[in-house]
């Protein structure tokens, strides 16, 4: 069984390592999606089917699209989202912080005393998860719902307030794209703005 764990861990870590070493941001995003799929594989190996499918659905289905939209809508050029580090000192600082985080995590793992392996691995049926979510954990479920609603309302307000100032955005977009079939909302949502620095 540890062989399976080793394979899943190697796959996840390898795709994560490739994700942050690629220069092309879209490739990094797609490799990150592979990493999340590896985490879902780990959940499946551990017997938590519900969490594994939720991981694929939420991370692979929703968060990945947010990441891709964000990458594409904030790049200066639509075709070539290549990232270069700003300066050598920034690279050094990033490496330092990363090493510090790794050191803290490794120290925490090594200093934890894991108990003996349980005889029967715990299984959670979907029914039990449902009862837990509706009973003892109902408060956390409601809080998460409120947070998501606030995020949705916030996103709508951000998008709507941009529409009230169409002069700066619409003019440049209209001059570069000849297509007139999209509505204003569609134009704002799906067109990356060419040649416009991300200063607004």
């Amino acid at each position: 069984m540890t062989l399976v764990l080793a394979i899943i861990a190697a796959f996840t870590l390898a795709s994560a390592a490739c994700a942050f070493s690629r220069r092309n941001l879209i490739h990094s995003a797609l490799l990150l999606i592979l990493t999340w799929a590896g985490v879902a594989g780990f959940y499946l190996w551990a017997g938590a089917e519900f969490v594994a499918f939720a991981q694929v659905l939420i991370y692979g289905g929703a968060v990945s699209m947010i990441v891709l939209f964000a990458v594409l809508l904030t790049r200066r050029s639509i075709v070539d989202p290549i990232v270069t580090p700003a300066s050598r000192s920034r690279v050094a600082a990033a490496m330092g912080v990363g090493t510090a985080v790794v050191a803290v995590l490794v120290a925490a793992v090594l200093n934890t005393s894991f108990g003996p392996e349980p005889v029967h691995a715990p299984t959670a049926e979907v029914r039990q998860i449902g009862f837990q979510l509706m009973g003892p954990q109902a408060g956390s479920l409601l809080v998460i719902g409120v947070i998501l609603t606030i995020a949705l309302i916030g996103a709508t307000i951000l998008a709507a307030s941009d529409r009230e100032n169409p002069r700066a955005v619409g003019a440049s977009a209209r001059s570069r794209m000849g297509k007139g079939e999209l509505s204003t909302a569609g134009r704002r949502a799906v067109l990356p703005v060419h040649g416009k620095d991300a200063a607004s």
């Binding site: 029914r127 999209l182 909302a185």
Partner: protein, 425 residues
């Protein structure tokens, strides 16, 4: 001798199926319909019996995979010709009728054409992603078939969280559409891919919300349990399918609309329409890769229709008690085929929606209706035990909870869009 064999066959089948309550039968020898019913499973067990016990799980899975691929591959092939002939008939013309009798060999001619076409990949394209996109979209489209109960015990994988698995599997197809659009290094492909992605994520919400009442009332995420929960008949002729309840009918309609949009099917086929940005995110695909995308769209449509049949139309349950002699997988196939014919009919009839009309329909119309449907289903479930005058009131209140929001929201949203006056015609 033969009677003893039949009795033992029936006894073994009964012993296997013991523990499940069957609705009362009114006629027909139990052995005959149980034989037809058990035939696919008996065939599978016969093949598995040839292999050593340690390999049984592998052979079991392989047989399920091969069966799903074979059945639904052929189904896809003949669906293309059926669709073309039906659309032709709706448009007052014959469909393809040259290749083979009544054009029945047309899918094979199409396959040969797709295979022998030149595979053009743009020089600036991202080769790996360009190649992977059709592969991923077909693979994850097929993975959705694993949790559909095709018959009484005929399901490839029995999962506790089957409905969640189905949506997890189909969420990766949206990623593949983005990969297809982006890897072509074509502004118009990317634009179309973003619009397709916006359409897909807009319609995921009504799709999932319309299914939540079904899961709530069956209190399980397992598809085979949901089908069993829709068993039984009132007075022997009225099935307990979810679509025959007010909240079920509304949920089914919302599900069908959202499924049409999720599989990029007319009237929501803006991403791949011929007059929209050439072929949308598929502009730079030719030959077999285009055929793979096409195949993935049909597999997605079939899988979603299968899910709709499972959750709303009672799956493999027969509509009346005396029709139970027809095997369960035949009922599933018939319902699936009927639903797909309905979708083809819709394709031939309705006009394509624009992207802003699409998203407005999803967010402003379907999501509120689906949320109200959820409340309606909760009301239905809480008033299940009333005596018969209460039952009549329950039906009336439930139907009002469906009709009134539909009419009010519909009227409010189409308020300013009165009959058009064309000034320049």
């Amino acid at each position: 001798m033969s009677a003893a064999f039949l009795v033992s066959l029936a006894a073994s089948a009964n012993a296997w199926m013991s523990g499940r309550a069957f609705p009362a039968r009114t006629l027909v020898a139990p052995d005959a319909d149980r034989f037809l019913e058990r035939a696919p499973l008996a065939a599978r067990d016969w093949v598995v019996g040839f292999f050593p016990v340690s390999l049984h799980w592998l052979v079991h899975s392989l047989i399920s995979i091969v069966a799903v691929l074979a059945v639904f591959g052929l189904f896809f092939a003949f669906l293309t010709i059926i669709e073309r002939k039906l659309l032709g008939r709706i448009q007052n013309r014959l469909g393809p009728n040259r290749t083979g009798p009544f054009g029945l060999l047309q899918p094979f001619a199409d396959a040969v054409k797709a295979l022998t076409k030149e595979d053009i990949v743009p020089a600036a394209a991202d080769k790996l992603l360009h190649f992977l996109a059709p592969v991923i979209v077909v693979a994850f489209g097929l993975m959705g078939f694993a949790v559909l109960p095709f018959g009484r015990d005929i399901i490839p994988v029995e999962l506790d969280a089957a409905v969640l698995y189905f949506f997890a599997a189909s969420s990766a197809t949206e990623l593949a559409i983005f990969m297809a659009g982006w890897s072509s290094r074509n502004k118009y492909s990317l634009l179309a891919a973003m619009r397709a992605l916006a359409q897909l994520i807009s319609y995921e919400l009504p799709l999932l919300l319309s299914i939540v009442p079904v899961v709530m009332l069956a209190s399980t995420l397992s598809t085979s349990e949901i089908v069993r929960a829709q068993g039984g008949w009132t007075l022997g002729i009225l099935p307990h399918w979810n679509v025959l309840t007010p909240w079920g009918a509304a949920g089914f309609l919302i599900f069908v609309v959202a499924a049409l949009a999720e599989s990029n099917r007319s009237p929501f086929d803006l991403p791949e329409a011929e007059s929209e940005l050439i072929a949308g995110h598929l502009t730079e695909y030719s030959g077999f890769k285009y055929a793979l995308f096409f195949m993935a769209e049909y597999f997605g449509m079939t899988a979603l229709c299968g899910l709709g049949v499972t959750l709303f139309l009672g799956g493999w349950q027969a509509p009346c008690a005396f029709l139970e002699f027809i095997p369960s997988y035949v009922w599933f196939g018939a319902k699936l085929f009927g639903l797909i014919l309905g979708l083809i009919w819709i394709r031939g009839t309705l006009l394509r929606l624009r992207i802003d009309q699409l998203t407005r329909l999803a967010w402003k119309f379907l999501v509120p209706l689906a949320l109200i449907n959820l409340a309606n289903a909760a009301f239905w479930s809480l008033t299940a035990g009333l005596p018969w005058p209460g039952q009549i009131a329950r039906w009336i209140v439930s139907m009002a909870l469906v009709a009134v929001p539909f009419v009010t929201i519909g009227r409010t949203l189409s308020a300013g869009l009165a009959p058009r006056t064309y000034k320049y015609a």
